[in-house]
Symmetry: C2
Subunit: 313 residues, 2 copies
């Protein structure tokens, strides 16, 4: 029996402009990237999301072909799918949102299918905390492990609902500025300590091109981003990262600090492929061999020996 991974999040179309190229309408959304990333593992992944009548049959088929269960994806017949349009600047670290059309997302009431109410791992993508909480409350008891993603917008505007969700999460993934905002601490070490007291036993701080930090069990693990010759489209990097982590967690019996470390490495490697092409293209195409090769390289990037002569100084 495979473990079940329930993913709650957006499915979308994106228009993306970078210094190199431009696309008008490609498959996107957090849940899409998370499901594609976690499908690299032998897990039973189910999606809870919402789409409009404009959502392409062929895009749903991409997920179905990977055995992703889309029975929890609500189709609103007279609605349009969530649409996001953005522009990346020269340095690829900054982006400007040109347009956000919530469309069917505006009145989204997630329905968790019966068969996923007892999923071992629940990955809640960046959404309105009200929606996140509603999905969580439909689960039969508390899932073994809940991963939560969120962002500064919800901290600014819906903090009390967000705090309720955070209290139920085992792992929260946020970026460094969000960690500082959430905790009101500048040091990321102190920020993580404070966030632990809000609920999550584990905290992953995402730093984009600077990598990620994991805090938990009194320990810290730091991983760089995989260094690349060129970044083509950063969209979906964070969600591919979260999907890799969720995939590892759902594929593991014992979830602990070491499993989370593996999750970070795997998620970082998947994200490194994602950003090398527009949209989900590279994530879809990448082979197990290519992934494992990059994981081996990852090891050599950070490992070092401290020899005895140096020790005797």
């Amino acid at each position: 029996m495979k473990n079940k991974l329930l993913v709650v999040g957006t499915m979308a179309y994106d228009a993306i402009e970078t210094p190199f190229d431009k696309v008008n309408r490609i498959l996107g959304g957090a849940a899409t990237y998370i499901a594609l990333a976690s499908s690299k593992f032998d897990v039973d992944c189910g999606l809870v999301s919402v789409i409009g009548a404009d959502f392409e049959e062929s895009d749903l088929k991409i997920l179905q072909d990977l055995d992703v269960d889309i029975s929890g994806v609500e189709l609103v017949p007279d609605g349009k799918s969530f649409f996001w349009s953005g522009r990346y600047h020269d340095n690829m670290n900054m982006r400007t949102t040109i347009d956000t059309q919530l469309n069917v997302l505006e009145n989204f009431n997630p329905i968790v299918p019966l068969s996923y109410k007892s999923a071992e791992v629940m990955m809640i993508g960046n959404l309105h905390p009200r929606v996140q909480l509603s999905a969580l409350n439909q689960m039969e008891g508390k899932p073994k492990f809940v991963v939560l993603d969120t962002m500064n917008f919800w901290m600014d505007n819906f903090r009390s609902t967000l705090d309720e969700v955070i209290a139920k999460a085992d792992l929260i993934t946020i970026n460094d500025e969000e960690a500082r905002q959430l905790s009101e601490e500048h040091s990321l070490v102190k920020a993580a300590e404070k966030i632990h007291t809000m609920g999550p036993k584990y905290v992953i701080i995402k730093k984009g091109e600077h990598g990620a930090m994991l805090f938990g069990d009194g320990k810290i693990f730091i991983a760089p981003a995989f260094p690349l010759d060129q970044v083509i489209d950063p969209t979906g990097a964070g969600d591919s990262f979260a999907g890799g982590i969720s995939g590892i967690l759902a594929n593991t019996d014992a979830i602990n600090f070491e499993t989370l470390k593996s999750g970070i490495i795997y998620g970082s490697v998947l994200a490194s492929f994602t950003v090398e092409q527009f949209g989900v293209k590279a994530l879809l195409a990448v082979t197990s061999k290519a992934i494992n090769d990059r994981i081996e390289k990852f090891k050599s990037l950070t490992s070092f020996e401290w020899n005895d002569k140096q020790k005797n100084i």
Copy 2:
């Protein structure tokens, strides 16, 4: 016989303001931090610098007590020492220079003492490229290994002289934005490749709280910054880092990618102590045991195992 390390750089007094505290006049300067950091190693370190009549006897004694040779430090009897004053903002990553008084630095003509003209390792701190070049040209042949530090100001205003210096360096240490400026490449992988063609076989890109990257011999090594509960004063972090690297290099017979990796770890650990107190205080006081403890912790921060089950996905 100890190997010789020649350090060329500034000695200064600093006035520093942080969100926590303020000091009006404390010992500073790149050469000071570099010499103090490298003195943790069994090397014969000589300084080339310039000071004014206001330079405290007790501050020179700090260096002499650590067997740093200060015969190359010129005293200008009617001059004042280089003075820098700056303020760190809330996030400690940004600083504003309030005042820079070059004073004796303005007409600095470095004189390398005869006994250091054949130093094995030469560490050239951030200075006017003209001064850096003058010191380099006084060496008897090319030193075994030349480490060069510089910054964007010299790239903006004295690029052709700077290029001459860079051509003679074996290792250059710059931050990420400077690497991008110098190479006109955004990807740090490509930036390092381009900088190799300008001279340096090795490139270290400093990213402050995000750590450092080493490029050379077709390989990449990435180290995080040591995570701290609190940063009190970031002044001197980069120079402590460079000093740790120079100390390791001068203490090693074979300088290669592995030695440089050790240098980065050692330099990062020294920098992590430096920033925990104002000025040189923590760097001076830190014991070998405390350094080695932190190096051990450093290892556990980044090492990971990739187990067989995961490999079989």
